[in-house]
Symmetry: C2
Subunit: 641 residues, 2 copies
């Protein structure tokens, strides 16, 4: 046997070892390190789609650096000379140029981590009346030659006697019909969809076991809920980062990938479906249910994810005027999507409203019940796009505001998703500017997630570290505030406290990102109010939905001016309402009808087409707003600066 | 390289050469010759399912006989000592026991031959109004941000303006909706099913190209018809022996095979579907149509074939009281059966009536229109089971009679299917008993098919070679009649005229088989008449359907007493009405409704449950019948014997 080195030489391969895993892999000369890492399941972030733009896939070369290409322009632009000296590279920019041995460390800040996903949102009470029900029927037994009706006719008659006008039998049920009737000695449980289609037949009485699965297909996460369709009980939840993240963290990258070829489109669809199959498997395992016992599924998600999940071309969704392919609900067979439930099961697609207001918003409207109250409410669902809905039982109007990814912890120097080690809560002592924080799972801090970022900016503003335009207050004297070149930053966690090798800070640039994000949300809300001739005091309820962490601090959000000033007591953090709405649609056919009415009846306002937007947006870039009088309470809380 | 022999020795393989093809194959020691032959596509009959019962898979060992097992009991029972000396074996009984070289000749009489299949039956005129129609729509173009309706809503609205209330869009159509609308610049052809489901969308105007495919799934043959759905025109036909024949020639063997395991059931279904896919491919190629342009299909066939085709367990169909799983029509997606048409296409299953009266009979009732006339008609569809229907617009009653396979050329010493070289017409000179005949394709005779067998018995009776009980008349002196042991036979074709190595004869045993078959049909018809309080003279029309050859001689059939004596002028040979009915259902949704009414409304009479059957059957074993007075015209025609 030739030695490993000789072999690599012959084949033009290098050996690469990833630390701290100690995973040793063969890598072809000419290959990219991040591809190999991803292929091997090494946990490494690559949100920009390997373009060298985000600087998140940092890796430290411990040896073999000379076997790689020299740092690219992208790397010299992002990494400091010190970092480059220390061996830092961006994995996506590293190509192996010679055979040999390479050792690379992937530092904690480049890791995606075990993402913490809020799987549960609020849910109102409603009557359980699912599309799929099981009913026990006793059939007239086939006795003799004078009594030779078809098995299917006996079944249909027996169902009729139970009050069900079933008009069709699925191919799956029909195939096993003769055996099942006889195996159950003419006592069978019929699984009915909408009372009209016999999805399946099970010998004897299996009514106790009737399950459904609701899925929230988010851009960054997938969440699944295994439900007992008889009782409405939540039996198990499962969640996963959306595996499409490898194809780009934001929707636009994925839609672009889709558009490149039919094969790439199918690939994108396939990975999300594989993710959902994993959710099903995990949740079923937890609850002792077989996936084949799942007879109904519902799916909610933003419009692009909705289209991709069902294999519908999403490319026009991302192009003005952002037309959706379909905005009514529909049902397709799980087997047609290769979703691993009972092969006769249907998947119900909750309807989207518009290109940037998806079925997740419809689900949020269902879950918060703003569609049924006399009083007017506002729902803000915060993600890369913030969807804003204002209305009541008579009218609902919505818009989508390009908040950007700051609240998801992206475009923030030490930002991270709400996963283990993310700083999710921050408080600053107004006397000595010392910082307290809490991390997800109380682990050593690794970065700051959305709720922590909001807290940080609110606290920095409240304690005077930054002023109303977000600039650092030069008169504050604390070691936490420091300037290097043109960038000033405030230290939230010192290196010694962290898991990584750097202080975790909020930079002046991060603050700008937060201001851009909150201004987008505020101005969207403000224009919607204006268009509806409403004042902010007309809003009796405010619901904030999203997956920031376990919660988002409503006072901090108000202090930074994310939403029009209304009493905090009227505001409520409602969590993942996309999942809640999907669960409601799973458990109630009435909710499906309501969801379709919501999708058809909610008026969509295109902010890009609104002449007021620019002006409103600019004024909202201040803390909490350029026009102090819009935030009297906040101004009192923070005092003068 | 080791020599082939050495290699076979090492691997325990032998070489086998099939003549006259000259195909040389490797065969594992322990393998059966017929398996290898079948796998290699060598044309060899095996109707009994390799059980050594039928004696049809004769093969002559030219060399290497010593490498096989000695003749089995099955072989010594069927082959004569002379044949065994000449090297004759039954291929299904031959197992290779040692490595070496074997040469085998498959003689013409063991070949299935290019089966001649009557693909066309009679068809009445009716209005073309298919389930699938294409319509050209112009959509309102998506213009700007103020006009952002969903693509699907634009489509549904445009269809509504054309008078179609489409309520659903197939997943396939939805997937490509955004692209197709834009590719066609908002002018698209919608493919609608039943006016309510959008199956597919094609950019621009493709209305001229709208195709459907009707399939007749017979036990022994598959026939397919490619139809222009716009004009009703038959564009191409294709036919094939049913490839399930390798699993047993009769339905019971196949149902037994199905019942052995789920895998075997799927296998049986798969081979028939592959056969249908071949029909589609062949017909499409002939007509310059792509299979993806086929948007609708219909399938007719007997009940067991119907069940197997759709993957429905057929095992109870063959067990008293012979219950069918389903006796209403239904539609399933072609893709769910892996039928290679447009993936959104439906397949419409014509409904069966009972376990032994299938959708082929419903199709025959449609095609002969006996369901709509004032006068009473009889339809006899002859196969292994003869289905008999009597009725008019008010009532239809049917039964199935176990005719046995004689009229399909089976259980007849020199019987064969209606394929090249089959004797299909026979006439005997009443003076010198010399025989004239016509073969399929005017090839050298190879055997006798159903129509020839009927002719032979009728002519032998008419010329006095056999008497009323079917026994040979000992006073006839002609070299054509000869006796060997207990068997007397009449030579139809002498060896020198044939392709094989033997005279082609009709034996006393063959005559018994014919009498059993015709008696079953006659007594079925006779009991049906009795039960309906009808006399044979009440029958204004008699339709004989089946695939005997190009036709069946109605006079010969009457002479042997196959059906109650009615004037031959009232009788008509209608050919493959199963195919005709399938074509009608493809072209007319009204015909589908009628077919369902026929299946639901036709009364089924179980002959096995009828106390008269035995007695009627015994009397019908005479030529034309024991009670001469039932066949006065025939008795006059044949004179006294």
């Amino acid at each position: 046997m030739p030695s490993s080195k000789e072999r690599s030489g012959e084949n033009r391969h290098a050996d690469i070892t990833f630390q701290p895993e100690g995973r040793r892999l063969e890598i072809k000369v000419g290959s990219n390190i991040i591809d190999v890492a991803r292929h091997a399941g090494i946990d490494i972030q690559a949100p920009c789609g390997d373009l060298g733009l985000c600087g998140r896939c940092r890796a430290v070369l411990k040896s073999g650096g000379a076997l790689l290409n020299p740092p690219t322009e992208a790397e010299t632009g992002i990494l400091t000379p010190t970092e480059l000296n220390e061996g830092y590279r961006l994995a996506c920019q590293c190509v192996v140029s010679k055979p040999g041995s390479i050792v690379v460390t992937v530092p904690p800040e480049s890791r995606i981590g075990q993402q913490r996903i809020i799987v549960q949102g609020v849910m109102p009470s409603f009557k359980v009346s699912p599309m799929v029900i099981k009913t026990l029927v006793r059939l007239k037994k086939s006795q003799d030659l004078e009594d030779i009706d078809a098995d299917s006719n006996r079944l249909i008659s027996a169902l009729k006697a139970h009050g069900y006008a079933a008009s069709s039998i699925s191919l799956e049920a029909m195939r096993r019909l003769p055996e099942v009737l006889r195996e159950g000695d003419w006592v069978v449980t019929a699984v009915l969809w909408g009372g009209r289609e016999v999805l399946s037949l099970e010998p004897r009485d299996t009514q106790e076991r009737s399950f459904g699965f609701a899925v929230d297909v988010g851009t960054t996460k997938l969440a699944g809920f295994l439900i007992d369709l008889k009782t409405g009980e939540l039996l198990a939840t499962a969640s996963l980062p959306n595996p499409q993240i490898s194809f780009g963290e934001d929707l636009i990258s994925r839609v672009t990938y889709w558009s490149e070829s039919e094969g790439k489109g199918r690939e994108l669809q396939q990975v999300v479906i594989e993710g959902v199959n994993k959710l099903i498997k995990d949740a079923c395992k937890d609850a002792g249910v077989s996936p084949s016992e799942i007879y109904d599924l519902t799916v909610a998600g933003n419009t692009a994810m909705h289209h991709i999940f069902f294999g519908i071309s999403p490319q026009y969704v991302a192009l003005s005027p952002f037309p959706v392919a379909v905005k009514t609900s529909f049902d397709v067979k799980a087997k047609d999507l290769k979703v691993e439930a009972n092969p006769a099961a249907y998947i119900h697609a909750l309807p989207p409203i518009a290109g940037f207001v998806g079925a997740d918003t419809v689900a949020g409207i269902l879950a918060t019940e703003i569609y049924k109250t006399e009083e007017t409410s506002m729902l803000i669902d915060i993600g890369t796009n913030a969807e804003i809905v204002i209305g009541n039982k008579d009218n609902l109007t919505c818009c989508s505001s390009p908040a950007g990814p700051a609240f998801e912890g992206r475009h923030i120097k030490h930002g991270t998703r709400a996963s283990t080690g993310a700083i999710e809560t921050i408080w600053i002592d107004p006397e000595d500017y010392s910082v307290g924080y809490k991390t997800v799972d109380d682990s050593k801090p690794r970065g700051i997630c959305g709720s922590g970022i909001i807290d940080a900016v609110a606290q920095m503003f409240k304690t005077g570290i930054i002023g109303r335009t977000g600039r650092f207050n030069k008169s504050i004297n604390t070691p936490g505030v420091r300037t290097s070149g043109r960038e000033t930053e405030f230290v939230i966690a010192w290196q010694k406290e962290t898991e990584g090798q750097k202080d975790i800070t909020i930079t002046s640039r991060d603050i700008q990102e937060v201001l851009l994000a909150k201004a987008a949300i505020y101005s969207g809300a403000s224009i919607l109010l204006k268009r509806l001739n409403l004042k902010h005091k007309d809003l009796r309820r405010l619901y904030i939905a999203g997956a920031f962490g376990t919660y988002v601090d409503l006072t901090s959000s108000l202090i930074i001016g994310m939403y029009p000033e209304i009493p905090v007591s009227r505001a409520q953090f409602v969590g993942n309402t996309s999942g809640s709405g999907a669960r409601m649609a799973l458990l109630s056919s009435e909710m499906r009808t309501i969801a379709d009415k919501i999708a058809a009846g909610t008026k969509y306002l295109e902010l890009a087409a609104d002449p007021l937007f620019e002006k409103e947006f600019t004024k909202a870039l201040w803390l909490p707003h350029r026009e102090e009088e819009r935030f009297p309470t906040v101004m009192t809380m923070v005092g003068k600066h």
